[in-house]
């Protein structure tokens, strides 16, 4: 083959690669603040998206301290999906640093997945300067599986906006996901039906949405405020309540201090169930479905143990 021929072949190859390049690049790069949202974006996007969660599995996303590489991840991202409310405030400063207007609040690639969620425990004392609403509501809304309908709606809307070519794909996947989810919710509801209305206690207040879906009666929270240990007076009230109302088990999530929970369980003769509040908190909770599978299993196990 002549020199020219080889060159031509090379060019052809290069051209072919360039043609392929859009395919290779086609995966829409999405950054989420938590693993739960990552799981939901994957559920909607499938192989057309590549998702990274800033807060890694098992970390406390509420107090996450961003790392330098996170800025790179954000720079490459086309969409950022966040929990919103007061949960991932640390993201705002990072977004300002990257300075990409599309990712800023109101930009095409900014998804606040709390939009249109029915919020619980809205204590908000109105807007403060900067328009941020403090006490905007309990942020653990992904723990009501039915809320996935709204969350994935917000996600799918943004995916379709930035990648209209795959709109059908995203919408179909979302519907498939929701259909499967609906069946599972019914299953979980039957599994948890014996626990409905039974009093239980939690360490951190991350369960109101979960409680609402499955009719669980959380009579109290051990920590009075996030990160504050209970006072002796509060503990003695809790112990009395546990004895009076026959609270038979306490839930905590792996990051919560074991000491206080074990102390109360010891004093009142209750069981402790360790639940995952986010995907990846427990090794079994690998994605959004197994998150609930794990929790439902842990709750029913603790309940059957607690029965005399």
């Amino acid at each position: 083959m002549s020199q020219n021929g080889r060159l031509a072949v090379r060019f052809l190859c290069l051209g072919f690669l360039l043609l392929l390049a859009p395919w290779a690049q086609a995966a829409l790069s999405v950054v989420t603040t938590t693993t739960d949202l990552k799981s939901l974006v994957e559920a909607v996007g499938g192989n057309r998206v590549s998702v990274v969660s800033l807060a890694p599995a098992g970390s406390d996303a509420e107090d996450y301290a961003p790392r330098p590489q996170d800025l790179d991840r954000l720079r490459d991202a086309r969409i950022i999906v966040r929990v919103g409310l007061d949960y991932d405030l640390w993201l705002d400063r990072m977004l300002r640093q990257t300075g990409n207007p599309a990712l800023m609040r109101g930009g095409a690639g900014h998804v606040d997945s709390s939009y249109a969620i029915v919020l619980l425990e809205v204590k908000g004392a109105g807007l403060s300067d900067g328009g941020h609403s403090h006490g905007a509501g309990n942020p653990h809304y992904w723990l009501d599986p039915a809320n996935a309908e709204i969350i994935t709606g917000n996600i799918a809307e943004a995916l379709v906006r930035l990648d209209p070519a795959n709109a059908k794909h995203y919408e179909q996947r979302r519907i498939d996901f929701l259909t499967r989810l609906e069946q599972r919710i019914r299953l979980w509801q039957t599994q948890l039906a014996p626990l409905a209305g039974k009093p239980l206690l939690t360490y951190h207040n991350n369960w109101p949405y979960f409680a609402r879906r499955f009719r669980l009666n959380f009579v109290g929270t051990i920590e009075p405020r996030s990160g504050v240990a209970p006072s002796p007076a509060a503990l003695s009230v809790l112990i009395r309540r546990m004895r009076d109302e026959q609270v038979s088990f306490i839930v905590r999530h792996p990051q919560d201090p074991a000491r206080d929970v074990d102390f109360l369980a010891r004093k009142a003769g209750a069981r402790v169930a360790i639940l995952a509040a986010s995907v990846g908190d427990l090794p079994q909770a690998k994605d959004y479905f197994s998150l609930f599978d794990t929790n439902v299993a842990a709750l029913t196990a603790a309940y059957s143990e607690s029965k005399p």
Binding site: A116, L127, I150, G153, V160, E171
Partner: protein, 430 residues
């Protein structure tokens, strides 16, 4: 659905405490015996307020006779972003619709005995006593006339000095207070729930600042009993209400006397002030709102002066003083003030440049919406340049005190004149 909610919410004990806690001063301020008819107290609680919707199937919280007086209390509504919706389409629609302010909290509904569809409800505002504070918000990038330009939020609390009838906005800037209910209205004819945001033939969220103490609202009755609501209590508001909020407050007392008028034909609400009759029109498009207001005004002038419609249309520019009530409630509103005194032959000026008393900007465009946008934005910018206010303060001040007057509306170039009285700037007293 709503019935079950109400049943779930009503607890007699709570209602009793609410009545007991109605401040004694509110009652002592008004000498009850001097008020016409029987006097009813209606405090605002979870049970006596509706949230976000007008629904003519809503069970009334109070029943009165024609001629009775009601002393209502109102709540401030949260400027939250609570929105319904689940499917992608619904979510998309919510975003594009720009749903206006979050649902209002409205005290009511009040059932008026004998009020039948086709009658007119005459609501005389005897007295308004606001709480001593008011707020003005800008919710970032969400609502208002210019959400894109104002991505940042601000909230200001203002002390309402009801003795001097002013609120100090910034040192040396005092806004005169003129409390009026932003929303007061009756149920629609159609069954079902309707957002409380857009105004209409049932009155509602009119945001017409002429409806103050001493004024009377005439509103057609569309459902049995009328079903009267009020909320969105304002202490002062600019014509245009551009950042979505006036000086928002809660009323300790909104004192109204309600009468049923039979045998009067009315298709749109009207307001009577001591000197004027106010006619109005609403539509998503300001051009069409103008058409509506014009039709109502022509009709009124023809009735008042017993002239033909054509003559009334010719007379209208000379005697009817039309203003842009608001442009942020989904349906924009224009209202026209028609003098009772037939001798009046002119309307207040439509200046095109700054005058002795006013800062002035003018917007001209074939489209009235654009003319309004241009005029109000120009005034917001003027305030920054001339008076050195911050962007958000200018936006807020314009929303609370600007007066947008309708100028030429017939030709190719429609014009809106936005004025801001220089008298707001007082020499610093401290």
């Amino acid at each position: 659905m709503s019935h079950t909610i109400l049943k779930a919410l009503v607890t007699s004990a709570a209602l009793a405490t609410a009545f007991a806690s109605l401040p004694a001063t509110a009652q002592s301020l008004t000498v009850a015996t001097r008020l016409p008819g029987k006097v009813h107290l209606l405090p605002a609680t979870l049970e006596t307020t509706q949230w976000g919707w007008f629904d003519n199937a809503q069970p009334p919280v109070l029943t009165i006779d024609s001629g009775d007086t009601v002393i209502m209390e109102t709540m401030m509504h949260a400027h939250n972003q609570i929105v319904p919706g689940k499917t992608i389409e619904e979510l998309k629609k919510l975003r594009t619709d720009n749903p206006g302010r979050g649902p209002h909290t409205l005290t009511g509904p009040i059932f008026v005995n004998d009020a039948e569809p086709g009658d007119v409800l005459k609501i005389k505002i005897n007295r308004i006593v606001p709480r001593a504070y008011g707020t003005n918000f800008n919710i970032p990038g969400m609502f208002g006339q210019f959400p894109k330009e104002f991505q940042d939020g601000q909230v200001k609390y203002l002390y309402l000095d009801m003795q001097r009838k002013i609120a100090e906005f910034l040192p040396g800037i005092e806004i005169p207070l003129q409390p009026f209910p932003g929303t007061i209205g009756v149920a629609r004819a159609e069954p079902g729930r309707y957002s409380s945001v857009p105004p209409g033939e049932f009155a509602g969220n009119m945001d017409i600042r002429e409806l103050t103490e001493g004024a009377t609202l005439y509103v057609p009755v569309w459902a049995k009993g009328g079903l009267l609501w009020s909320g969105d209590s304002h202490a002062a508001q600019g014509n245009g209400e551009v950042n979505l909020t006036a000086i928002e407050t809660a009323y300790k007392e909104l004192n109204v006397t309600v009468e049923v008028l039979k045998g009067i034909k009315l298709d749109m609400p009207r307001i009577e002030t001591p000197t004027h009759w106010v006619t109005m029109g609403f539509d998503k498009d300001l051009n069409l709102a103008w058409d509506g207001a014009k039709a109502q005004t022509v009709k009124y002038l023809a009735e008042q002066r017993k002239i033909s419609a054509d003559e009334a249309a010719k007379l209208m520019p000379k005697v009817s003083d039309c203003r842009v009530s608001q442009v942020v409630n989904i349906k924009k509103g224009i209202h026209c003030m028609n003098p009772k005194d037939l001798k009046v032959k002119s309307i207040p000026e439509r200046p095109i440049a700054e005058t002795k008393d006013y800062l002035v900007t003018v917007g001209k465009d074939a489209d009235a919406n654009k003319a309004m946008d241009n005029a109000s934005m120009a005034l917001i910018e003027l305030l920054q340049q001339k008076k050195g206010l911050t962007r958000l303060d200018s936006y807020a001040l314009a929303s609370m005190a600007m007066d947008c007057r309708v100028g030429e509306m017939t030709g190719e170039q429609k014009s809106i004149h936005c004025l801001l009285p220089k008298s707001l700037w007082v020499t610093a007293k401290k």
